[in-house]
Amino acid sequence: MDWFPLYNSLRIAAISTAAVFILGLFSAYYVAKLPRLVKGTLDVLLTLPLVLPPTVVGWLLLLLLGPRRPLGAWVLEVFGTKMVMTWWSAVFATVVVSFPLMYRTARGAFESFDTTLSDAGRTLGLSNTYIFWRVRMPFCREGILAGMVLSFTRALGEYGATSMIAGYTPGRTATISTAVYQFWRTNDDVSATRWVLVNIAISAVFLLAINLLESRDRRVRKGGR
């Protein structure tokens, strides 16, 4: 069995989860502070990838990043590499597709944050950055973990946009889910099932790790004010 899709999927999911974590968190934080109308508009834009069929999302990405389009041409010129049909092209797809999950969940969590805590931090002279990472984040931990679980598993399961922008080339751009899809499509149910199980195993490990993180500090949070 060729384990390349596993390796490839893991690196794609990891990079994209990290990216989505940062992007989602900051968008959520800054958007929550904006006036209601701007917020509403941004919300729609940022949740958009969720309402489009992933294949269409992939196509739009192709239109944006393809080497014949300005951005892709520039990257090709400067870095000498195409932004499509490489393993890391898939990262664009998974980031766009799973971003709304992190964004929304983080926003929900941030909005239930007890601002007295950040007020207290500010009067104690703690910087906003410190308060963000050491007070707000731990307080919103459950929501943010939920967002990470959703984005990681979504990244792992994403195939529509991925196969559009990165293609399915065994050994180069194949991921677990495009492999699952192709094997399933060509009636190789054994291989398809095998890769489904691999995907499940990865998510299981990830989910259990998250569960441990969650329960470690649950008790502590209750009534802690």
Binding site: T55, K82, V84, M85, T169, P170, T173, R185
Partner: protein
């Protein structure tokens, strides 16, 4: 990729491959060819050990989109002339066949590689008792059937439209009678047939074969024309010689065996 030998572009078709520089070829092939091309890549490894073939499989429409947007591709095998035409510079002035006036394939290398058959497949036991395309057209007219077809992007979909024309059926009217359901890919149509979700489906012989479906009729040439899989080397290919060599190899006897084993017919 294997661009270490920058000056190799001119040295076409050096078949004395054992000493040649290693080369990576990217082949974009219609998804319906996944199994066969995979096998042939295996075979080709003995034929030309210096050539590594990377295949990218998807529906021909997606492949066309990817090529058009500049994806690296040396050889394109489409499941229908439509996608190939859209890239063929020799058809530049034919607004219908090549609407964007693209010139991305090397027209001299274009060949018709394979032929497939349009078939009528039914679920196990054939619950509606449909025996032929003729019977199907009657049922479609009376509105008492649910037929799965590919959309016009799934190559078989275009042949299905021709079939409707042959029987004097109007697609819009059929849609109004709600007897058609369009699949977004072949697997969807075959599964829906296999699971009895629909009464019958129009698919390629190869798809029916791999899914093990019961085929009750096969369209003749006058009903919908020939189903042709064209292939061509891309203009931008850095290894056009090796690509051409592989294309030639596809027409040899060992490959023909592979193709015919799943229901394709070799084109002469």
């Amino acid at each position: 990729s294997g661009g270490g030998s920058a000056g190799s572009s001119g040295s076409a078709g050096s078949l004395d491959s054992s000493q040649a520089d290693p080369v990576e070829l990217t082949v974009f092939a219609a998804a319906s060819m996944t199994e066969t091309i995979d096998q042939i890549i295996h075979l080709y490894r003995e034929e030309a050990p210096n050539v590594t073939i990377l295949a990218n499989y998807d529906s021909s429409g997606t492949l066309l989109k990817q090529i058009r947007e500049g994806a690296d591709c040396d050889l394109f095998i489409s499941a229908s002339p439509t996608q190939m035409n859209a890239l063929d510079g020799s058809l530049k002035d034919d607004a219908e066949k090549n609407p964007d006036g693209l010139d991305m394939i090397n027209s001299q290398t274009r060949i018709d590689l394979l032929e497939n058959k349009v078939t009528l497949a039914v679920p196990k036991g054939n619950p509606k008792g449909i025996g032929s395309f003729d019977e199907l057209s009657e049922l479609l007219k009376s509105g008492d059937v649910l037929l799965a077809v590919g959309n016009s992007d799934v190559p078989v979909g275009q042949y299905t439209l021709k079939l409707f024309d042959y029987y004097g059926l109007d697609e819009a009217a059929l849609n109004g009678a709600q007897v058609l359901t369009y699949g977004s890919n072949v697997k969807e149509v075959t599964t829906q047939v296999a699971e009895s979700a629909v009464d019958c489906g129009i698919i390629y012989a190869t798809d029916a074969f791999s899914e093990g479906l019961e085929v009750v009729d096969e369209a003749t040439q006058e009903m919908c024309g020939q189903v042709i899989y064209p292939a061509a080397v891309l203009r931008g290919s850095a290894h056009s010689g090796e690509a051409k060599a592989f294309l030639d190899y596809l027409r040899t006897e060992p490959c023909a065996q592979v193709f015919e084993s799943v229901g394709f017919t070799m084109m002469q």
